[in-house]
Symmetry: C2
Subunit: 347 residues, 2 copies
């Protein structure tokens, strides 16, 4: 497959992934609502009745398909392209929420959508074309180059400091501690997910990569990073409001992932200064659009219930693929069955 075709395949997979993930939230929310109305409302029971609702499972499957597409996208296109496009799923869910769930989108939220799209187009236009990879050993060489080892070393040191020094002292007062740990580990997750995805892609194409211990090493790294990320993201969501955690996490995670990808895959080598500047601007625009969509959500929903148990069953799935776009988490959380019953109790 030619270089451009690989990039286009990755791009399409990333877009499909966003469409699936974005709509999965709407489907699941409808499932939760239906479950709450069908099985009656029992406050504080903490019910898991939604597991009996087929619509909820349709949403769950939609999300898994989306996450798999996202995972595969990393095997085809640079992380610099795939990661920021995750923001598009927020648009999909915002627009569908407006159309189907009748959750009116604020005017500035529409502007946020427009910006996410404009920024994404700029990123896509200026995305680098990565050299085709023919073996996992090639990725291994990239991962063991001094510059990337220095990055990994810094990340590990920073995570250690955050976990053992800052977390016990100010983890519960400063939102940056837990989200920082998640974002740092998240950037390593994405890199190892990309390595693993590429290995699996090559294996499927007939070049068996499972014979190399490097492939299994990357698998181990994925597992460790994802468990760490999950653990501290749950802590962050338990401690702070999702509306605060999500944008901070999204900004830090995406920035660090791009940084890691640029170091490891030398994405910016051979690109002109103006192309890199355009990419960065596009990225800033997407971030701004995302923050805006988030900020304006509150304008319309100030009366909605906030809080609740954040450890939704989807969390592990979303994290498994190293996709850090946790912005949807809020919907999930706000509409968890407990919340619905509690809210209806209040009415």
């Amino acid at each position: 497959m030619s270089l451009l075709k690989e990039n286009v395949t990755g791009l399409i997979l990333a877009l499909v992934s966003s469409a699936f993930i974005g709509s999965s939230f709407i489907i699941k929310k409808q499932g939760l609502r239906r479950a709450a109305s069908v099985f009656g409302v029992r406050a504080g029971v903490g019910g898991y009745y939604y597991l009996l609702e087929p619509l909820w499972w349709v949403g769950m499957i939609t999300m898994i398909v989306g996450e798999v597409a996202n995972f595969v996208a990393y095997a085809f296109a640079p992380a610099v392209l795939v990661t920021p496009l995750g923001a598009l799923s927020i648009i999909v869910s915002a627009v569908l929420a407006d159309l189907i769930l009748k959750e009116k989108l604020h005017k500035l939220g529409v502007l946020g959508c427009v910006m996410c799209i404009a920024g994404s187009i700029i990123i896509v236009i200026h995305a680098p074309k990565e050299d085709p990879i023919s073996s996992v050993l090639q990725i291994w060489n990239m991962a063991t180059q001094p510059a990337f080892l220095a990055y990994v070393g810094s990340v590990v040191v920073l995570v250690f400091i955050l976990v053992f020094h800052f977390a016990p002292r100010c983890g519960h007062t400063n939102v940056l501690v837990y989200t920082g740990i998640c974002s740092l580990m998240g950037s390593l997750s994405v890199m190892s997910v990309k390595a693993l995805g590429t290995s699996l892609k090559l294996t499927i194409e007939g070049k068996n990569q499972l014979v190399y211990p490097e492939t299994w090493f990357f698998m181990l790294v994925v597992a460790i990073c994802v468990v760490m990320q999950m653990n501290y993201l749950n802590k962050a969501l338990d401690t702070f409001n999702t509306a605060i955690v999500s944008p901070i996490y999204y900004v830090m995670f995406t920035t660090l992932t791009i940084l890691a990808s640029v170091i490891m895959f030398k994405d910016w080598d051979g690109q002109s200064g103006s192309t890199i500047a355009s990419e960065i601007c596009g990225f800033i625009v997407v971030l701004s659009g995302t923050i805006m969509l988030h900020a304006t959500k509150d304008f319309e929903r100030t009366h909605s219930f906030r809080g609740g148990t954040p450890s939704s069953p989807t969390l592990s799935v979303r994290l498994y693929n190293g996709n850090g776009d946790m912005l949807h988490k809020e919907d999930e959380e706000n509409e968890s069955p407990e919340c619905i019953s509690r809210r209806q109790d209040l009415c």
Copy 2:
């Protein structure tokens, strides 16, 4: 001067212009405030005491310098580059208002500023390089090419329909009528201002262009367009709230100016599809940022006085140079001496 140098000169002039125009609003506002406190407050007198306040004149001169820089910028760089950069003056005044006048900038307003800057960088990176012009006759040829004549024809017809059919019927109920006339005429103003500016530049460089009747014709067109634009902008501002008129006018004016420039100067010929797409995205981002800065202004200032006489003395100056960025007009209007006295009367 080389092609790139011309573009850079135009870019610097456009940036300087934005800095001057942006700060002029702050200086004038301080002048108005000081005048109101020094000469006492007389409600409804409609006083022109601010004319005795030196600070107000400093602001006025700053604005004239900015407008002249803007006018000259059009002679060096394409309108596609100069016009959207006008949005940067809004950032300058918003930031200075925050620092000097202590008018706190909303968090989303800061995001709007970031977006205007990111969008401007994208526009600058992808701006076309216009062929150097050696005589006013060359511009005349561009202006009389069939495509541009068709554009001028459509504009004239549309303006006629708006002026004679729609203005008497729904000019006072539909904000698009007056702003539409202004924007359509504005796009012709900028084109003729660019022609005139280039002629004057060439004349100063030693190639006298005043011997050609074409130069005088462009001067006449500038005069007619600017008078029309002034007249209908005043009507629009008299009839509707500035907060509604300004963004609509800015969007329509900038879009039509870019369209006119693309037709007349063939800015997009020889540019790749991706470059043009980037330019359009950059433009959309700047527009979104501008709208956002405007929308969030209201969040902080809902209690401030709105209304008042819109025909400020600066209007003619701003329009004279075909610069349609009337977004600052609001500050001017809100803080006209009458408003200050009326507001203080209410306290």
